[in-house]
Symmetry: C2
Subunit: 350 residues, 2 copies
DNA sequence: GTGATTTACTTAGACTAGTTAATCATTACT
DNA sequence: AGTAATGATTAACTAGTCTAAGTAAATCAC
């Protein structure tokens, strides 16, 4: 068995509780005793047992991570690596650890969270997604368990601390950008409509169209379950079998956009001359795609970093107010968007 | 405070120890009592406290992850997401959790591991890298703490359970492939020479050249610290300032290869006609690069999965023998390699 | 100079929430 | 009645924290 506080106490000839106080650097212990105890700790190579400490303190210094339901797909998206980067930085700064549980089914996932929470494994939780009617969210709220969410809560926005982008605005700007290029037939390819990101971006898109008096067409809106390349391909098949094909597309994820580009290229549809594409996340391969994708950088690393920080603030201060942190986004213009052909034709006829 | 075992005991009118036995499904408790206790548990919404359990059992059901020293760069490489995917699957199967600590400096990292180990936070550790003279490795070995390594240990290969590819063979095959295309001037761009992956692949490369009686040129070998795109660009600058530029390159990571492709394209050097490139890992963007990269798929997800499984085996069976698990690799041919021009010239002169 | 009070440390022991070896109380069967 | 089998309990143990209490020294009053 490892060295315990009692061994140290014996060697330093003090009570275990004194050793505990020395560890906590309690001012009520004299410097002389502290020194003696520290020497004993050094000599024995003592390291406090975190588990025992957690039990006594009712605090583990561990933060739990809840991945979205279909985590298999989630791992494949660069979003995962980037949030993890930010989370890791934020958590590490304050000497917390990160813990992950995944589940294959919804139920497993839920049970995993209950285990984490009721089992006292973690002090707080970060939800890496936001969707409608989420049981896990309801559970955390009902238990008043500290958590923060990455994304905008579907309900109770003002009661849940969350870190998000202004996805409505981002999508609106993207759409306006396309409209500015003369596009009137703009399609929207989004992820699952149960995710709030998707809904926000969809609304931003619709709002921009409405403001410019462009009629909304139901069949220009496609939703795919995951954010994968295959989803993009599938979406294209649906979109380009409509009567009037769109001349521009908003795709809510680079990975999906990649699939879209692939499919269009196979169909010998030229990007950007026949179809313009604008996507979200600005992952590395937005730059690498042929053509390079115009994409909206949502600063994913920062999203993670701020989420970690705000959760820790909640944990360390009972009365921390509910916060909403909006991470800025930027449109990164590359070569996947061009002036609409109709506009060109019109102009040249003048 | 949450519901404890005592509350359940009181309600079911038994001793706390009986409840504990019911949880463990001990056969010495009658079915009648078990049922009564389970009902009480249900009624109170009882969930055992994992921390208290961990303390009593001296086991946490948590596996620690040690990222390589410069984790900032590591997060950016798709390797990270893929191993995590595999690890997560493997760990989840056996109801373990994953815990991560990172450090900014070497010392912080080391301290983090000591905390994990001596603090009893984790039952075992997975090292996501392998390098020469690693203090963390020595520490784990000296404490006889259960761990497995992803990659080949630099020393004591037969004493450390590890999951790896046959990197020597993979690099050798890659080199032979290039030689088969008529290349005689083949450069090697690798990551840090303190990593065993790099060393193994370098040896495979050198071995192939030697067997074909092609002289080894020191200045055809470049090492970069991280596996990043910038590193690839830097490497190209060095390589193509030599007297005779190579006509083919082995690059030990897709991300670096990407940088190489970028630089060469900027220098108006044609790939594959002027320079052939073969890279490792077969990340998504190997496929997306212009031209698509011929790459060696090392099955990273499987690497993680097997590492998780073998660690858990060690944890659950004291006498589990040391294992070496080799994950197969495949050469994925795309369009970044062509027949050497010298060969073409020779052929046409016939 | 002596007793009272204050101050500065230190400690015993209860507590965190479980597990488990050893023990005890029943009942059942020779 | 004696013994074995079964089922449940007592109490010690995991490694810490922390409150309340204790002690010794220092300060103060007279």
């Amino acid at each position: 068995m490892a060295v315990t506080i009692k061994d140290v106490a014996k060697l330093a000839d003090v009570a275990p509780s004194t050793v505990s106080r020395v560890i906590a650097n309690n001012p009520r212990i004299s410097e002389k005793t502290k020194k003696r105890v520290r020497e004993a700790m050094e000599q024995l190579g003592y390291h406090p047992n975190f588990i025992a400490r957690s039990l006594a303190n009712q605090s583990t210094k561990v933060i739990g991570l809840v991945l979205p339901p279909s985590s298999g797909a989630f791992f494949q998206n660069p979003f995962f690596a980037e949030v993890m980067h930010g989370l890791s930085d934020g958590v590490h700064e304050k000497h917390y650890a990160l813990q992950m549980t995944t589940g294959t089914t919804e139920e497993e996932l839920y049970d995993g969270v209950v285990q984490m929470v009721q089992g006292g494994r973690v002090d707080g939780i970060i939800l890496l997604y936001s969707r409608v009617n989420d049981d896990i969210l309801s559970y955390l709220r009902s238990r008043c368990f500290p958590f923060v969410m990455i994304g905008k809560p579907f309900e109770h926005v003002e009661k849940i601390t969350h870190v998000d982008n202004d996805n409505f605005l981002a999508a609106k700007e993207a759409t306006e950008y396309l409209i500015g290029l003369g596009h009137k037939h703009i399609g929207f390819i989004g992820g699952s409509p149960s995710l709030t990101v998707t809904l926000d971006r969809l609304q931003g898109y619709q709002n921009a169209l409405r403001e410019e008096n462009i009629s909304l067409q139901e069949d220009y809106i496609i939703h795919s379950e995951h954010f994968l390349r295959e989803d993009g391909q599938e979406a294209v098949n649906k979109l380009f079998s409509t009567s009037v094909s769109p001349t521009a597309l908003i795709v809510t994820d680079d990975l999906m956009a990649l699939g879209v580009v692939n499919s269009l290229t196979e169909m010998a549809i030229d990007i950007p001359n026949e179809v313009s594409i604008i996507s979200f996340n600005n992952a590395l391969f937005a730059e690498m795609s042929r053509p390079p994708l115009t994409s909206i950088n949502i600063n994913i690393v920062e999203l993670g970093y701020q989420a970690a920080r705000s959760l820790i603030q909640i944990l360390e201060n009972e009365n921390e107010p509910v916060k909403r942190i909006i991470i800025p986004h930027q449109l990164v213009v590359r070569n996947s968007c061009a002036i609409a052909q109709e506009t060109l034709l019109k102009d040249s006829s003048n």
